[in-house]
Amino acid sequence: MVTTTRRTLLTGAAALGAGTLAACSGGGGGGGDIPDEIPADTSGEITYSIWDQAQKGAMEKIIAAFGKQFPDITVSLTVTPFEQYFEKLQTQATGGDLPDVFWMNGPNFQLYASEGKLQDLADVPGVDADSYPDAMNALYTLDGAQYCVPKDFDTIGLWWNADHFEKAGVEAPTEDWTWDDYRETSRAITEALADDGVWGNAGGTENQAYVYPLVLQAGGEIISEDATRSGYGSDAAIEAFEFLRGMVEEKIAPSIEFTSENKPADLFNAGKAAMLWSGNWSAAVFKDSPVRDAIRTAPLPTGKQAGNVIHGIGNTMAAEGRNKAAAAAFLAFLGGEEANRIQAEEGAANPAFEGTAQAYVDALPEFELQRFIDAAADASPYPVSRNTAAWLSLELEYYPKIVGGELEVAAGCAELAQKMDEALADEQ
């Protein structure tokens, strides 16, 4: 658990940060310290940066609610498309001009934290890590200090189309489903509904929603605990990839080229696939699907063991902001019960604050979203390292080759593992 203030570790982290700060152009660290209790008449203007247009409405409502508690603080919301979000963030960070409060995700977190760009939460009053899932807190902790307040979290589940199942005459997925059940059901549906152009499962090589859980279920890991070695070289990984490759080869799942041009989520959304592994983020999309009435969810099948991945966005504030008191007040509010409840009500995302998700679940009862929340307890945190982006791009390169058959599974995995090890070694 992370709320304790480890002053010694903090000074260490601060020293690291200060060393790097000195190298940065233009200081501007005159944002003031954060008082132990932030007065309600704190004033100023702060910027809040997000990347999802779909959640803009919810964020605006949160800002309005915040304004009731802190009427003299103005929050300006900026939406940057996800694809350019981190490129822009890096530019701003290098210029010493980060937004006051902004969204962060797992893969990019350690990079910013290790360079001292993010504010240690120990100094932000009103943030209590006990309110959020352990795995989420762990994801946003580095060297004993937590830097981001979890905003939401998602886990992976099996989405399935009841109409297709019925038409193909197969049984609905159950909690006891194994990989074999999943594959055989896919086969049955693909064969039965070929004329309708419906696939048993949507295929693809999505990492978080498909490959990672499979590898975990085979008993493996993506990255070692200390983030120095890749898990792709293990037998478990090979097993997972062979499972995927097999389905593509036997034409139970669509080919790699097909899913590159027609995304699995789009296929499922359009009713052209009967099953899809995806996170609860898909609820926001599928609720407008033309086949919405047929969509159901089920827990993921198990391999040798159960396996799931938990991830979520974190709110964080800049360590060198111009108005840290105001930013801290807003950050604490974002992490609080009211803000999370608003998120749930707006259906924006599954809020991280324990106990606030009811509205989110209730909004789409037929999707049974509660199971995604329940899965958080046993889910593994999204695998990251200091420079996650380096090996994420390796995944993008190798997954299609391995699952598509261009490389032999064992050889391909070995190559991926080796390249990933090199990237991880570079981080040291």
Binding site: V79, P81, E87, T94, G95, L267, S282, D288
Partner: protein, 283 residues
Amino acid sequence: MTDAPAPRPRAARGPRNIDAYVVLTVGGLVMIFPFVWQLIMSLSTQAEVTGVPPSLLPASPQWGNFAAVFDLLPFVDQFLVSVGVTALRVIVQMILCAMAGYAFARMQFRGRGILFALLLSILMVPNQIYLIPQYSIIQGMGLLNTVLGIAMPGLFSAFGTFLLRQHFVALPAELEEAARLDGANPWQIFWRVMLPLSGPALASVAILTTIASWNDLLWPLVVSTYEDRMPLAVGLATLQGQHMTNYPVMMAASLLAMAPILILFLVLQRRVVEGLAHSGMKG
């Protein structure tokens, strides 16, 4: 010189131009059919567009998508920002690039070749390398989130200078020499003799700069934070969500954003063509 309106010599007898009409019509259709599709998409529903396969024609035209654009974006504000940035860039470029283009073309000075080569070289590197340094400079000048700040790096164009240099090189030297013998200084030669002959070239620079500036995305994205102070291209980009995008509305927004430029082009190109027909060319 006889008052010859619109060149007649290659007289356009009807049948002679049929090849032109055929080729241009086919070519034109190839050029525009993606836009026809864009228009169709903008009038469809999300389900129709993301269907697998996507529907060819909407069941009923969704004109509401166009209205939705104004709800999702501060369209007018962003439009004005785009106009401001573009106007600044075009005006400043026309002045600076014409002057520099003329100097590179017609003046002898030390280091001319090297400087010109260096100038062109700025086009040869990935433009992402400019991002962070330019950001620091604009930030240092306190011009973040301003029209001037967005426009500034684009005020200096190697492309425009090159284009105008080529144009000036092609003009006959006799005009210049005559003026020089008359005792004119370089500025007068430039202003009174060379520039008036540069209508088409300047128009080309203006049009191309307008387009480039209107669609410029990465730099303005990085430099603007406030929704009502970013140009239209950036506003459009923000319509893309992380997991889903409302494609029909995005297409509608894109068409709306394109419209002003199209109208401008229509107006500009007819005026330029007509203007030249009456000017009698290079005397």
